[in-house]
């Protein structure tokens, strides 16, 4: 059981900044996120796109903002459970909450801060008959361990970065890799596109474009696919052990919707007059995942909400402690790792 003061669900910008504000109050944080890396949508959807409305940054790329936040919270040593989705919430007799992930990892904390953004990212599944049946029988929506595909025949479908990147990685591991895309053009980093072309030229990736997969076959497990060439209307079968459709991810509120929280318009209702607490005391919702009159889904609003929420959490955890807000310029930042950042002392010195 992982124990912490504030359990944050969602490692996007709002969740990450919560660690900083909590750290100033000497509260420890642990974050859970379904994606394998921190940063939420910023890292997953548009790392290279610029953001222009972060105060103090005339322009910052989404990826750099995440890097900076990670740097800023480092002294507070946040824990991470990445690549696992928070699925269950339970309240203990001692008042603490236990949040369990889809992999069974348990986390206990007196405070839960849901910073889930748009929700958890679910794979977008192609409309193919019996697709569900073949899940875990040869169909995968993500590659968790590339070695699972050692010496297997693999078909990857999709036209974006992940389809390109996994084709490249698996071309060294699998016995064959076939990449299928509806069009001949791919949208991805230039070096990935070039690399796939090189691998195709040396026969390590079998490229079929423009084409679509139209059917899955196999009795117990996936054995072959029907592929339709879009330029000729010719359909043929290709035998394969695995099929990995990579058509992007679409966010869904997911299991959080069943935690007894008040939900409105796919978002969690909170008290915006005070501390962004939900209808369950001790559970807060901050950032894009919450809603209240006048809500704006902006990163800068998430930062504010995180700050207010941490103050409230402090009072809940330390009901008898008095707290006076201190400016970081005055008080500095003392990390849990022993590091201390503070304004350099002014000197009084004669210049004669």
């Amino acid at each position: 059981m992982i124990k912490t003061d504030i359990l944050i669900i969602g490692a996007g910008p709002t969740g990450l900044f919560t660690v900083f504000e909590a750290g100033l109050l000497k509260l420890k944080c642990h974050l859970i996120d379904g994606l394998p890396q921190p940063g939420g949508q910023l890292a997953e959807l548009y790392p290279k796109k610029p953001i222009y409305d972060i105060p103090g940054y005339p322009e910052v790329s989404a990826g750099s903002l995440v890097d900076n936040l990670m740097e800023q919270i480092k002294p507070f040593q946040p824990g991470f459970t990445l690549g696992e989705k928070a699925t269950h919430l339970k309240k203990l007799d001692n008042g603490n909450f236990v949040v369990t992930t889809d992999e069974g990892t348990e986390h206990e904390a007196p405070i839960v801060a849901i910073a889930g953004g748009l929700g958890s990212f679910e794979p977008r599944k192609p409309a193919l008959e019996n697709l569900d049946f073949y899940e875990k029988r040869g169909v995968h929506y993500m590659v968790k361990n590339p070695q699972d595909f050692k010496n297997k025949d693999v078909v990857i479908a999709g036209g974006g970065d992940s389809a390109l990147d996994w084709s490249i990685v698996l071309s060294d591991i699998a016995s064959s890799v076939t990449l299928i895309h509806r069009r001949s053009e791919f949208r991805g980093a230039l070096e990935s596109v070039d690399r796939v072309k090189d691998l195709k030229d040396v026969g390590k990736i079998n490229l079929i474009t423009p084409a679509e997969i139209t059917a899955l076959h196999g009795k117990e497990k996936l054995e072959s696919l029907s592929i339709k060439k879009n330029d000729s209307d010719e359909t043929f079968q290709l035998s394969t052990d695995h099929f990995i459709p990579l058509f992007g991810l679409s966010p869904k509120l997911g299991p959080i919707a069943n935690w007894g929280l008040e939900i409105e318009k796919n978002a969690i209702k909170v008290d915006n007059s005070l501390d962004y607490q939900t209808n369950i005391p001790g559970i807060y919702a901050i950032g894009d995942v919450n809603t209240y009159p006048g809500k704006l889904k902006l990163i800068l609003c998430g930062f504010h909400e995180a700050t207010m929420m941490c103050q409230s959490a402090f009072k809940k955890i330390n009901p008898n402690k008095k707290y006076v807000m201190k400016y970081t310029t005055v008080g500095g930042v003392t990390g849990f790792d022993g590091s201390k950042k503070e304004a350099p002392k002014a000197v009084v010195k004669s210049l004669d």
């Binding site: 959807l45 548009y46 977008r124 999709g158």
Partner: protein, 109 residues
């Protein structure tokens, strides 16, 4: 000036709406404004042509839409339920020439 739009939602219900041309809106934002589809099921990526949740089928042939840019073309090549008349609402700015436009929102995927 406001223009008239006819938007059919995912349940098949027709909405006749007015959209201002002077607020730098796009078609996705108008659909969002009128809650043509529930929050979280449209305009998910915020209008970056990265999710196709605002995909719609354009029914009025006589209205000239802005030409498709590379981002939109690439997204539609990966999206589901794509037809010849598919466009991403977020890539269509509301302008006077669009008066009378008729579209149907594509299914959620």
């Amino acid at each position: 000036m406001d223009i008239q739009l006819k938007i059919t939602d995912r349940e098949g219900k027709l909405h006749k709406v007015e959209a201002p041309t002077d607020m730098a809106l796009n078609l996705m934002e108008v659909m969002h404004m009128y809650e043509i589809a529930p929050e979280g099921t449209i305009g998910v990526c915020g209008g970056m042509a990265m999710c196709a949740s605002c995909q719609c089928y354009v029914q009025s042939n006589h209205i000239k839409l802005p030409e498709m840019q590379m981002d939109e073309e690439a997204m539609l090549s990966e999206a589901f339920y794509v037809k010849d008349n598919s466009r991403l609402g977020c890539q269509i700015p509301i302008a006077e020439e669009l008066d009378g436009l008729e579209v149907t929102l594509a299914p959620e995927s």
